[in-house]
């Protein structure tokens, strides 16, 4: 039985991960630490587990932790968990600066603990099918990639730069960059971005557009905008179009859903019937802890995706494309 603790419920994905841990026969949610006591206690009650007012106390009782704090605190909690010799699943983005991300990777290496970054899209069944098709060479050589990961404006700490590290571009670039790196096996070598605040009354970027180049001169675009209106049928989207020399593949990670015309909500809503990617992510992590194998998504993966988001901000500031360091 793998004993799991959750450090902070600040990121809403913590709730989905907690539920996943409770569904797994080989894992136990030992407790939740949260610097927001009220939120932590409520969460502990919701998932029938114990609330810890002290993170170090929680760390004494677990084999591994899931860190879902505000992005800026990922480093602090990762370093603490590493010090206690615990394996870590850290919510994306890995951190808010290259310096912090590198420090986290180093701390985990030195402590001999495994660090995995939570990119659940890699566990989305339609995305896994695309990976299998690409590995078979189904569309020949990939020559162009278009991604979208739009959403509604999340509010809360997501719109506080000191806690989130950035707005829409930080929030919604990393998933698509990670999954494209994984699908193509290629790194992003340059990015040009337009970034602005035009949609919501917030003090952080809420829309943007990234035009990247993958190794081998492959164009790759990504739209991370918080551009889904309140009346949109769901929280957002994750889509990819891969154009190859022998065909193309389009995948909509949320397409597997039913449509509900809901008078109560006053709008059309969709409800997914896709297999639960968060559950698959957590199952993979628990297995990693149990078998002591290497993480399927590493700290380096987290660093590479975050570095693209940071380069996008730099590009927008300079008005020029920015090269990523190899």
């Amino acid at each position: 039985m793998v004993r799991i603790g959750i450090i902070s419920l600040a990121h809403m994905h913590a709730y989905s991960y907690a539920s996943a841990v409770n569904q797994l026969p080989n894992a136990k949610l030992v407790g939740i630490y949260d610097d927001n006591e009220e939120r932590g206690k409520r969460g502990a009650e919701m998932f029938r587990t114990r609330f810890f007012a002290d993170a170090e106390e929680l760390l004494k009782h677990v084999d591994a932790v899931i860190i879902c704090s505000e992005n800026a605190f990922h480093r602090k909690w990762t370093e603490l968990a590493a010090k206690h010799g615990k394996d870590i699943l850290c919510e994306k983005p890995i951190a808010t600066s290259v310096e912090d991300a590198k420090a986290m990777i180093k701390a985990c290496e030195e402590a001999g603990v495994r660090l995995q970054i939570a990119f659940p899209v890699r566990f989305c069944t339609p995305i896994r099918r695309v990976k299998a098709l690409l590995d078979e060479g189904a569309i020949g050589e990939i020559v162009a990639v278009r991604g979208t990961n739009r959403g509604q404006m999340p509010g809360g700490w997501f719109i506080q730069k000191e806690l989130a590290g950035g707005g829409a571009v930080m929030d919604h670039t990393v998933h698509v960059v990670d999954v494209v790196r994984w699908l193509t096996g290629k790194e992003v070598v340059s990015v040009y971005a337009e970034v602005d605040t035009m949609i919501h009354d917030v003090d952080i970027d809420d829309c943007g557009m990234l035009f990247m180049e993958l190794e081998g001169g492959i164009p790759f675009t990504q739209d991370p905008s918080w551009s889904r209106p309140k009346s949109f049928h769901t929280w957002g989207d994750v889509t990819l179009e891969l154009v190859g020399t022998q065909g193309s593949l389009y995948v909509d990670a949320l397409a597997q859903s039913i449509r509900i015309y809901d008078d109560g909500a006053g709008k059309l809503v969709t409800q997914p019937f896709t297999e639960d990617m968060d559950l698959a992510l957590i199952a993979d992590f628990v297995e990693m802890v149990a078998t002591k194998r290497s993480p399927s998504i590493t700290g380096f993966d987290g660093l590479q995706a975050m570095a693209v988001a940071l380069a996008a901000y730099e590009s927008a500031r300079l008005g020029q494309p920015v090269a990523l360091k190899p």
Partner: protein, 330 residues
């Protein structure tokens, strides 16, 4: 009655000729094409006289308007001659191929005594018109992010395979994505800067997929995508404009009112589904009717030469950006 000659009897020339043939206020009088088989076809099917060269038909005193449907790199010279001969001109998009030709036709337009219209037909497609009206009426609040897609079918085969010749067509950005560049200019005004990426150089000349990012002076960030990817698919277009209060979007794969499933005789697996969005007046007919009305009413056509030149300049900036990797300010 406006007497019309169509120059270039290829895909667009045939489509335009079939419309001129029945359009009230106009009479199709001649067709010019270098290819003798095409000339024969025009004479037999349309009952009009034919010419070999565009220059000859422009010189015909019985012609009032020339409709230029030749490959892009031939437009500027025919416009020059038509303006010299005091003919009305309707020219297919893209208006011209190069920046020098942009300068030339702008000078010509300044001295032209007759009307010049340009075939940016997307401004006549009802879904695009409706979306623009919604944007202008404030339905999405402040527009912020626009996305436009066009493509999905096989590479176009033209006379002498001219689409594959970059020097003639300008590739997928100048020939195809220009539709959406023009439409977005119509919605949002002038473009501040452009950045673009294309597969040209990676893929062979008969397959190009391009992304163009436009930053408009009003702030709007646009993602324009054009595709001549060399695999079988259904041609479609899609538009999405998101703003501070809402979003408009459509995808022609979803707005096709009819899907016609036809069993291929004897070949069970060769069946095809043909989507169709029928209308009583086609957008191509509407753009030519507007040209006739502009001449009759003494007003400018809906898409002016000045407008089309501005659109070509943005598209050429995108081509330059894709070639140099630089951000191009306009």
């Amino acid at each position: 009655m406006i007497r019309v000659a169509v120059i270039g009897y290829g895909t667009m020339g045939r489509l335009h000729a079939s419309i001129w043939k029945k359009l009230p206020g106009a009479r199709l009088a001649a067709v010019a094409d270098l290819d003798p088989e095409r000339r024969q076809h025009a004479e037999a099917q349309l009952g009009v006289k034919s010419y070999v060269k565009g220059e000859e038909v422009i010189g015909d005193p019985d012609i009032d308007l020339v409709d230029i449907c030749v490959p892009t790199d031939g437009h500027a010279e025919l416009i020059r001659r038509a303006v010299e001969m005091d003919k009305h001109v309707f020219c297919e998009k893209p208006l011209v191929r190069t920046r020098e030709e942009c300068d030339l036709v702008e000078r010509l337009a300044a001295e032209a005594r007759k009307k010049i219209g340009v075939g940016h037909v997307v401004r006549f497609f009802p879904e695009y018109v409706a979306a623009r009206e919604k944007i202008l009426s404030g339905a999405v609040g402040r527009p912020a992010v626009a996305r436009a897609f066009r493509g999905g079918s096989l590479f176009p085969r033209g006379w002498q395979d001219w689409y594959a010749d970059f020097a003639r067509s300008g590739g997928v950005i100048l020939d195809l994505a220009i539709h959406d560049i023009d439409y977005l200019r119509w919605c949002f005004g002038e473009v501040e800067r452009v950045y673009a990426k294309t597969t040209r150089g990676v893929t062979d000349e008969r397959m190009e997929h391009a992304f163009v990012m436009l930053r408009f002076k009003n702030g709007v960030i646009a993602h324009v995508e054009g595709s001549w990817a060399n695999y079988p698919g259904q041609f479609y277009t899609a538009l999405e404009i998101a703003g501070s209060k809402g979003m408009v979007e459509f995808d022609t794969r979803k707005t096709a009112a009819i899907v016609y499933n036809k069993a291929a005789a004897g070949e069970e697996w060769a069946n095809v589904a043909v989507p169709e969005s029928p209308s009583l007046v086609s957008p191509y007919e509407a753009e030519l009717a507007d040209m006739v009305a502009a001449i009759r009413e003494g007003r400018e056509p809906k898409v002016t030469l000045k407008d089309a030149v501005a659109t070509v300049r943005v598209a050429l900036a995108a081509v330059e950006s894709a070639e140099t990797g630089r951000v191009i300010s306009l």
